[in-house]
Amino acid sequence: MSKVFMFKRNEFEVAETMIQSEAKNNPAFLELSDVSIEFQTKKGPFKALDNVNLKIGNGEFISIIGHSGCGKSTVLNIVAGLHKATTGGVILNNKEVDEPGPDRAVVFQNHSLLPWLTCYQNVELAVKAIFKKRMNKAEMKSWIEHNLSLVHMDHAMHKYPAEVSGGMKQRVGIARALAMQPTVLLMDEPFGALDALTRAHLQDSVMEIQAELKNTVIMITHDVDEAVLLSDKIVMMTNGPAATIGEILAIDLERPRDRIRLANDKRYNEYRTEVLKFLYERQHRPSEH
């Protein structure tokens, strides 16, 4: 099995170095320019986002934080190609994003596994759809198993989603996204529905995987600690309607990061305070309006 997957990883690394060299000429690997979106609702048009500009470098881990309902998911969906921006657009690796695709794999908040397929089959559905011309059966099998073992789900991969815990479902969701070999991994509050302990485990897994694969990641969160712990940059959004990016905070903490050691780290706590100040002093909760 490892032989096949080595081959795949190598191929992936080649592709990655290519992308990195491109990225050096063009520091904005992923760029949102002047993105705004208006939803047509029964009460008339509703402008959810206005003038969102964001540049993300290759291999960067970005989190987007903001109060609930401000438009975080909408930003992510526009990058995913699931929503179309009313004005402006998204450029990924010199190409405009105009439809959904596996190069921008999405991890959905409530795992979104197909309940009638086992964990393995859920990943298989994606792998089959994407690599049907490039991999043979054996390669697919080892590729699926490899990705499930990356998220530590190899022991339960033939169980149905209903038979595993919420954290495990979310792990499979991440494995499915990773198996697409995305150029950008998009995660919409991936751990929002999990208890604190499970969430911490999954955050560690994500950091571990990130250290290995060095993906470009956009993660939405409403958890300040999670944002500081995982990200290279935190993008803070203002409240809607017509939400936009309020501030971007670069997190300059060396990796690998350890949550226990960081708990008493001065810089870590400063970053944390900064985000909290933004959220609770400059942006009031929507309910306080």
């Binding site: 699931l82 959904p100 695709g101 999405v106 959905f108 409530n110 197909l114 009638w116 559905l125 149905y160």
Partner: protein, 337 residues
Amino acid sequence: MKNRIINYLEMAGVSWLVPVVRLCSGENPREQFSDLFSGIGLPVIALVAFLFVWAGAASQVKTSLGDLPGPVAVWAQGENLWQEYKTERAKEQAFYERQEERNQKKLEKDPNAEIKVREYTGRVTFIDQIWTSLITVFTGFVIASLIAIPIGVVCGLSRNLYGAISPLIQIFKPVSPLAWLPIVTMVVSAVYVTDNPMFEKSFINSAITVTLCSLWPTLINTAMAVSSIDKDLINVGRVIRLNWTAQIFKIAIPASLPVIFTGLRISLGIGWMVLIAAEMLAQNPGLGKFVWDEFQNGSSDSLARIMFAVLAIGLIGFLLDWIMVAFQRVLSHDKNV
């Protein structure tokens, strides 16, 4: 092993047998007996109580055909009906044996002799009518499902189309089968004209009437299920760029299957009810005709025979639903039906 058996029993919809298995494997007997009591004991008590009330009440009602029959009389007629079926089958076999013998003799005398093979046309018994009705309801139901599921899927995918045909569905849904029947009969006689019909006209009339009435629950449930699929599941399909057929067959239909099945169950139930009524009205072969014929016949046994038929109709309807539930458990991912 034990869990496998229990699983199978639950799949088959006979979960009241589960305590028996648990008891045999030595699990806490008190708990199992209490489960057994509520699973089997209480229904049996209710059944016995019903039989007593029936027997008591029946003897009070005098009809023009004599006393309303009680459980014993009805059961006796049931045995009678079975006996009639067996005699009829014996006669049929004898007929074919005689025919065979005759033809054999003819051929011995003259190998080129023309031989006649005639169908046996004996009395149609109760059991034959059951078969006729089952085949008819099955045909009508399958046609209805083959029409309703695809239309339902399309309606579920397109809000506009559903909005467009929704009024039609609302108007046709409540129409009684008895109102459809004359139209169906006229149309079938006008359209279905062949010298060598593969199916009886009466069969087609009944089947189409069943179809027309059992179309709606499946159609409505399918449309509702498909239109309310979790958007994230659809988005998963979009992200991995499934084409639209894969999107429908790999995501939309499996996701909607539990609700579609509920619709199918309702449809089959309605189809069975409708069929009996249609057979009575149109004198089309089947259980409905049996009931009607007995009613017209008006012999002293008739009421008991009709009552037996009523019980049989109920029991068959129950079995049909039970089969659907078993199918649903096997085929769809939602195991808690």
